[in-house]
Structures are given as C-alpha cells and as structure tokens.
Amino acid sequence: MFTADRVREVTEAVKPPFRALFLYGSHARADAREDSDVDILQVTLTHAAPYAVGRVNVTCYTLEQLLRLARQGGLFARHLVEEALPLADPHDVLGALKSAYVRPLDYHGVKREVCGCAPLLDVADPQFNENADGLSSLVSYLIRTYLYATAFDRQAKSFAMGHVLDLLGQERASSILSNVRSHHSIPAFAAARTFFEELTGTICQRKEGSLEAFVVNASAHNELAMILGLRLLARGRPFTYDALLDVEF
C-alpha cells in the first residue's frame, strides 16, 4: 500500500524542479512485492537523465516528449495512461496525455524494432565486462518490451509482468529477468540473450565490424536500435552540447 508517508518520502527523493510526478509500475497497480523498486515519472521542464535514489527509480521526460510518445501510441505512453497515479499534477499533465494518446491497431512495429536490436547483444565476454550494467539492462528491456507487445496483441489486461507471463505461457522468463537485473553477470546475460533469441526467433549476430557501424546502418530504418546503440556507446555518460565547445580549431 502506498501510504501518505510513502508518497512524501518518494516526493522528497525527487530532484526539483518538476511539472508533475507520477507513480507507475507495480506500486501504482498495488501488486508490488517486498523487494519491488518504486518507479517514478518526473515530468521535467528540460531534458534530463534518469536517476535513482535508493530503491526509487526516476525516469525523466519533458511534457513535449511525453505528448509525442502518446501520439505515437507507444507502450510507455499506454503504461502511463492506463496505470500511472499522480503524486503531483497541478497542470493536469495526465489529462493531456490521455487526450493525446492514440492506441495503435497492433504492436507488430514495436516487435519488428525490438528484433532489429538483436545485433546489439552480440558481445564477447571481455566486451560484456566493459559495460555489464548497460548490457544487462538492455537485454532485460528488450525481453520485457517484446513480451508486453505480444501480450497486448493478445488482449492483456495490465502491465503486471506476472499476468503477461501467464497469458503468454512464458513463466520461466520471470527468473531469467530477475537474474539478469540483479546479477549483471556473464552467465545471467547469456541466459537472457538465449531466451531473447528463442522468444523472438532472431539471432544475436552483428554483421558490421563495430557497434558504430551498426548504429549508422540501423539509423536508416530502426530508431529504437539507433537510440539503444548510442546509449550503449555512451555507457551511462551524459552527452552535452558543450562537447563541441571543447574542440580546438
């Protein structure tokens, strides 16, 4: 149960300023386990990187970004529109999102994009160790997105992962996802990657000789692969426009 004290505690963890704050995920659905993280959406005034404070994960989007996602009918927008609970929303951002949201006919396009990301998981062990956190998060994200897309094409009722896995008969994904998210190890990653290949019918093999080359080619037709590829290359470092100002000419 998300009590008033808990709301205050979470709100205090958020770095101001914000236009609105929402709780989403298992705590918003009231089906959280003892060890579940708290997922917060912070609607920011300008672009900002996600951050975590203890068990509170804060995802940051501007209103303009959210409205674009809502108009595109993406899964994250659906998640918010159907399940988010306002912790602070004086300008009725949630109402604006609900008005802007366009539900797609199906999620075939999302699944195609996720399958197109398979080459991002083609890494040897030494490369994995250089970016264990990023690759573990990536494989987890791709599996979950594919499962959600498949489940909503089969009339899933909520984003509760237990419900999604029941519906799809994929209960074993639960331990695979749990392992890769908590251990960030090569065996956990390899097991998740194998599961991803079986789930999607893809092979995690990159034809290009570098991640950069893959990102260039993917950018022509797969925005998700481009963005996730750039994030992998960034390894958590924020990019700022000021980089150009540091160049000497």
């Binding site: 290009e208 260039v216 080619n217 950018s219 750039l230 980089a243 150009l244 100002l245 160049v247």
Partner: protein, 215 residues
C-alpha cells in the same frame, strides 16, 4: 545599399534549397550555416552550394555548428557518439551508404575532397555598417565580440529579448523556430524555421526590403 538574400539552416534538404534558390532574384547570397546533418541529402546540398559558389556573384557561406561538428569528427576531434547525437548519422549514411567498421575512415574516404575544402572555407560571420550575420547571432553580454565559439557555436536565447547594445541588425539561424515562421523583433532576425529537422520550410530574408521567402 547592396541587395542581399540571407538563407537559413538547410540541414540536408536539397529539394527545398533548389526550390528557394529558384525564387530569389539576382542579388548577393549569404548562407547562415547548418548545411549538413539531420535531413536526407547533405552531399547534394553541398554540391548545390558549390555550384552557387561558382556561378553567383561573390556569395558568402558562413559556418554553422554542424559544419564544425562534421569537420571535427573527420579530424578525430569529436567522437562518433557526440557527432551522432548532433544529427550526424544521416550525413554519414548519405555519404557512405552502408557502414562496415571504422565509420570515421569510411566517411573520410567517401566524402569528396572538394566538399571538405568547401566546408572548411566557410566564414564565421558577415558584417556591414547596418548588420551582422552569423549562425548563432551575437553574445548579448559582449555584442562587439566576434569570437568563433560565441558567434558560431554559442547559444543565447536571451538574444531574442533584444537586451543588448548594438546599433545593427542581427541576423542568425541556429535557434529553431517551432512556429515554422522566421523571428523578426527586437533587432534580431532568425531564419531557422525547421528545414531538414521538423519538416519546416527553408527561409530567406531579402534585404533591405526585409521581406521573407519560403520554400
């Protein structure tokens, strides 16, 4: 007074560039930079500009931050990630087609030397007694400054409030006008109307008439 046409950010949209140039009468052309990145056909844009350089009378080509970024990437001063984040992937793709491994080397090999030389020879600003034109405008705190890092790479949103002392019109691109209309108030005219980025038009300012053309 010399008759001029200032042309805003093009960003790889060669179709709009050709259309706009076809509608401008005979006068000196001043391009405000950002010829490459984001849009679909940066090489074709550079080809058209090189043709303009050969056929028109004394045109002026100013640097935009995206030309600087492309040249910096080619010379190894800017990382792939930084250039990609600025919208360079479309430029890389449109020059090399399919990438295979070392993107920087492949781009350097595929890009005609003439293109690189043309972009390298851009100017930081254009100035007369009545106006100053540069990609990023001027730093309102130092309106007399013509430092490269300020007038080409800077970012001064407060410029649009006109809070600077300079007895000249400031003409710039760079600052995206999401209304798709040029900004012209407080002694500042901004011509970045989203060409090649948000499917906006390409805009030209005819001077001294102070009228706009769009394609």
């Amino acid at each position: 007074m010399e008759r001029l046409a200032f042309i805003g950010d093009i960003h790889g949209d060669s179709v709009r560039l050709s259309a706009l140039l076809g509608n401008i009468d005979s006068r000196r052309l001043v391009f405000l930079g950002d010829y490459v990145d984001r849009g679909p056909n940066s090489p074709e844009v550079v080809e058209i500009l090189m043709e303009v350089a050969n056929r028109k009378t004394n045109p002026v080509f100013l640097f935009g931050n995206h030309e600087v970024a492309l040249l910096a990437f080619l010379s190894g001063k800017l990382s792939f990630l930084e250039y990609a984040w600025m919208g360079g992937l479309s430029t890389i793709r449109s020059y090399i087609g399919k990438a295979s491994e070392d993107v920087r080397s492949e781009l350097a090999a595929a890009m005609p030397r003439s293109h690189r030389e043309f972009l390298s020879n851009c100017k930081p600003f254009f100035e007369t007694d009545q106006l100053v034109a540069s990609h990023a405008g001027i730093n309102p705190a130092y309106p007399e400054s013509r430092e490269f890092g300020e007038i080409v790479l800077g970012r001064y949103p407060s410029l649009f409030r006109g809070n600077f002392r300079l007895n000249k019109l400031v003409i710039c691109g760079h600052y995206l006008q999401t209304t798709l209309r040029p900004f012209a108030e407080n002694g500042v005219t901004c011509l970045n109307t989203g060409c090649g980025t948000i499917e906006g038009p390409l805009t030209a300012l005819l001077y001294p008439e102070m009228t706009f053309l769009q394609a």
